[in-house]
């Protein structure tokens, strides 16, 4: 087949807490907005991939949208669910089978930490009974080791949070839109050392929908061509250090970071797109906590390990920096509805490439945009967009 897969419509239901609306409600809201944006109606949609972790089965949305008999596949892939839905959706068009479809994601989580259970991850019950089935422990331990290997300071961790809340002020879909000072971030109570409460994102609610079309169909619709140059999804390599892992492999030389699903998915994406990290104008990187954003900068090829200290000090990931990262405040400010989160990143990238970012718009008309999600138990999805 010829031509790229294009994103021709985007919709979002604001993230945060929305009492009175279910997860499905928020997904339907986003999907209607995305269809209106693309100028298409539900009966034209040929297929859908939907992601939700805790808010029910996405295919039940057909009750609201219309019983057209459409193929609708539910996707559940940890925090990479949204990215996985998008990966699957683009394959349906790349195969030549379809030329108009949907990736939609939503979620609605109870307050507090995620309710993961050992049996869902092929783990023995005792792992949860002793208090180790807690995602925050892994993320904190991962940055703790990284800090000791590469000399990252707690101040740099704080700068990531400060940037997230500053950017989110200008993102109408973000949950937390008040700036927080570096001092307040660093002096807040510790949740899991070295992270204070402002350094973690919270489980949240929200919905996002993207309409995908073949290049031919996109031209018919008369939409600006936002091309999906790559969408990849990969699982973990040997000896990686993952969430919910009672043990980790020993390696002969342990002075370098270990391989990750993110590194593989990232390398795949650059290869498919035929460009490198230096060609990316704006990036949305999984930032369930501040250390994740820092480590993912290196895992996705944007800097060497340890360079983050200088990057943050110089503001290189600010909206006006050399590589703006998490321009809508990321998970830190938007919160994380698992099923919607990876798609929010792509929504934000489309906004940026269309030049519609308002107060958070990256200057100089960005042409390329990158997104990355990581989820349990070691899955990552990456996309590269180009206009």
């Amino acid at each position: 087949m010829s031509g790229d897969v294009c994103i021709v419509g985007i919709g979002i239901h604001r993230f945060g807490r929305t009492d009175g609306l279910s997860g499905v409600d928020q997904g339907v809201f986003a999907l209607r907005e995305a269809m209106a944006d693309a100028g298409v109606e539900w009966p034209q949609i040929q297929f859908a991939y939907g992601s939700s972790d805790a808010a029910g089965n996405p295919d039940t949305m057909v009750d609201r949208l219309g019983l057209t008999g459409v193929q609708f596949i539910n996707v559940r892939n940890g925090c990479a669910a949204g990215g996985s839905a998008l990966f699957s959706a683009q394959m349906a068009i790349k195969s030549g089978e379809f030329d108009l479809g949907v990736a939609v994601g939503f979620d609605k989580h109870p307050r507090g930490a995620f309710n993961a259970l050992p049996a869902e991850y092929n783990l023995p019950d005792w792992y949860g009974e002793v208090g180790q089935m807690v995602t925050t422990q892994f993320f904190a331990a991962k940055i703790m080791r990284y800090m000791s290997l590469f000399g990252i300071s707690q101040k740099t961790l704080g700068l990531v949070s400060e940037k997230a809340f500053r950017n989110a002020v200008h993102a109408p879909h973000a949950w937390r839109r008040q700036p927080v000072s570096l001092e307040e971030i660093l002096e807040a109570p510790l949740v899991s050392d070295p992270y204070t409460k402002y350094m973690f994102c919270s489980p949240a609610e929200g919905g996002v929908a993207l309409i995908l079309a073949s290049e031919k169909k996109a031209r018919e619709l008369g939409k600006p061509l936002i091309r999906l140059k790559a969408a990849t999804m990969r699982t973990r390599p040997p000896a990686s250090f993952e969430v919910f892992a009672p043990s980790v492999d020993v390696v002969a030389d342990d002075t370098a970071p270990r391989g990750t699903a993110s590194r593989i998915a990232s390398a795949d994406a650059y290869r498919l797109a035929g460009i490198g990290p230096g060609d990316i104008d704006v990036a949305q990187l999984q930032d369930t906590e501040v250390g994740a954003e820092l480590m993912h900068m290196a895992e996705n090829g944007f800097c060497a390990d340890g360079e983050q200290e200088q990057w943050l000090a110089e503001g290189r990931t600010d909206i006006n920096g050399a590589l703006p990262v998490n321009t809508d405040g990321g998970c830190l400010a938007c919160g994380e509805p698992i099923g919607a989160s990876g798609l929010r990143q792509v929504y934000e990238n489309v906004v940026q490439l269309r030049g519609n970012g308002g107060g958070r718009q990256v200057p100089n008309a960005p042409k390329t945009a990158y997104s990355h999600v990581y989820g349990a138990p070691g899955v990552s999805a990456v996309t590269i967009l180009e206009r």
């Binding site: 309710n115 023995p124 019950d125 208090g131 180790q132 703790m144 980790v248």
Partner: protein, 131 residues
């Protein structure tokens, strides 16, 4: 000493963790998966702290079965040289004294120290200067 799950510790005066050794590749994992591809192996008692954090809030129940009264604890990843890195608690140390690379020794502790019937869970303590 009753472990929180069967097959977690060896039945010795100084119990050790039981890992699983892949019969083909020699790769060691913890806990012992209990499948034919792995054989059970006692793991070394001594190791070094590979990484850590502090659990500062009470995990949700389910699945956590610890006491209602909550005291923060150190979550440790302990490297057992040449074997495997295991996740467990680290006891008997002030949080500010925990350092990556410190020597530690296996010393299972009770999930609820206030309850004599409480089961034992995987834990380490600093091995100290004399270790």
């Amino acid at each position: 000493m009753r472990a929180i799950a069967e097959g977690l510790f060896t039945d010795e005066a100084q119990p050790r963790l039981i890992g699983g050794k892949d019969r083909e590749t020699g790769r060691i994992v913890f806990p012992f998966p209990g499948t034919p591809a792995f054989e059970p192996v006692p793991l070394s008692s001594d190791g070094t702290l590979w990484s850590y954090t502090v659990q500062r809030f009470r995990p949700k129940t389910p699945p956590y079965l610890g006491p209602e009264a909550f005291l923060p604890w150190v979550v440790a990843y302990v490297e057992l040289p040449g074997e495997v890195i295991v996740e467990a608690r680290l006891n008997d140390v002030a949080f500010e004294d925990v350092k990556v690379g410190m020597a530690v020794r296996f010393a299972p502790s009770q999930l609820n120290p206030e309850d004599p019937e409480s089961p034992y869970i995987p834990a380490y303590s600093p091995a100290g200067e004399a270790a």
